[in-house]
Symmetry: C2
């Protein structure tokens, strides 16, 4: 498992006591309503490394909230091209894109042994018919997912290799902080080739950029993690690695 023991112990079998409740579906619900939500959440399902939670094309039966560990989502198009769409960490909700046509549009795969909460959409739909606050939180979460993807489009579209890597590192660290996960070296549970795929570059380029940033004293590359030594410089290089701002 990814989280250390201390943070694991704060995860309870119920939403009411879960340390991630402010990021997750329960946010904004009254204590009573959270209790009702709990009744339909299957907490503590586990999923092994490289196993999938759902596959592209599957009927959308449930949403999944990550409790511990990490996942990636990947989509394949008609030509067989694979693109990693995102990396997900504790508190993140997966499966929202299935609301479009009741089928998952991507496959969710565990990057390491992980635990997830399973929330059946059928029952979630019924409960949200009754609880306005739940419905609003669901809309909020979908809106956030939408704007997260927009930000990603911006980064991938307008930054060069170094800018993308630097932005990714900063984003990942910010997300960890928001979740209250331990500071220090940033764990990178994915392989170089997965980073490369996600950022639309080749693994050799990822490697070269990381080496360069390390040589310049901005980061330190550890096995399975990156230590950010000079945040200000990393931010600078995230901004510099951007294309000319032309008219338009």
């Amino acid at each position: 498992m990814a989280a250390d023991t201390a943070s694991l112990e704060q995860l309870s079998a119920t939403c009411s006591h879960c340390s991630l409740r402010y990021l997750c579906l329960p946010h904004g619900l009254s204590a009573d309503d959270v209790v009702r939500l709990e009744t339909l959440v299957d907490t503590g399902a586990t999923i092994g490394t490289d196993r999938s939670l759902f596959e592209q094309g599957d009927a959308q039966q449930a949403l999944y909230a990550i409790r511990d560990g990490s996942m990636k989502t990947v989509a394949v198009d008609e030509d067989g091209l694979e693109q990693i769409l995102g990396f997900y960490f504790p508190g993140d909700l997966l499966g929202l894109d299935g609301f479009g046509n009741q089928r998952h549009q991507c496959t969710a795969i565990a990057l390491e042994d992980s635990t997830v909460c399973r929330i059946p959409v059928e029952r979630l739909g019924h409960l949200s018919d009754e609880l306005p606050s739940l419905r609003h939180q669901l809309m909020r979460l979908m809106g956030q997912a939408l704007s997260d993807e927009e930000r990603l489009l911006l980064t991938l579209g307008r930054k060069n290799a170094e800018g993308r890597i630097a932005s990714l590192l900063l984003t990942m660290r910010r997300r960890r902080q928001l979740r209250g996960l331990p500071e220090g070296a940033l764990p990178l549970p994915m392989k170089r080739i997965e980073l490369a795929n996600f950022l639309s570059m080749r693994l050799e380029t990822v490697s070269r950029v990381l080496t360069r940033l390390q040589r310049d004293g901005v980061i330190r590359v550890l096995p399975g993690a990156i230590d950010i030594l000079d945040t200000a410089m990393l931010r600078t290089r995230a901004g510099q690695g951007a294309w000319a701002v032309d008219q338009d």
Copy 2:
């Protein structure tokens, strides 16, 4: 205005009679419920070329459905980089990303003189508290928006210049067909530099690719439009313009 007179006349001042109702919010609602929805929709607002419907950072006050014309959405990040996130046509809904934090995450700008329906989110929220079918349609539309952006990430991430242009042309034509808009030459209301920004390339590259596709008899470049002469070949080149499918 973009649509020709024939299709314009099918657009009525009410959702019940709108030719786009099956794509838009009314889809799936009973006749009675559509009438209730109508009461809060301000149909027929107009917006001039280059004017904005809402701006990034504005409070989300309404959703907008395009009736006629076309728009783009653009996001600016902290470094001042601008990225066009999408082009939108009749039947498309704008403003959904604002559900994340009650603020619009991008600016919507008209590519030509257009007409839109304005749907205040406050009142929409209240009505959807009452109408399950409306809320389900809203969820559906958000799910679709999410998977549309995922598809875009796939195209931008894994295809080269030619593949992106070819994919864009095919996608735009498919969207027109879904809406029942007239076939024939595909109108391209946006400038080269806007296409370039959207596809993450330079306008010179857009120009060169279009010229090459025309030289090879795949398309014909008209002022403000593209005639697709050989769909099969265009599809081939959309698929070929893709990076090697490596392991992972």
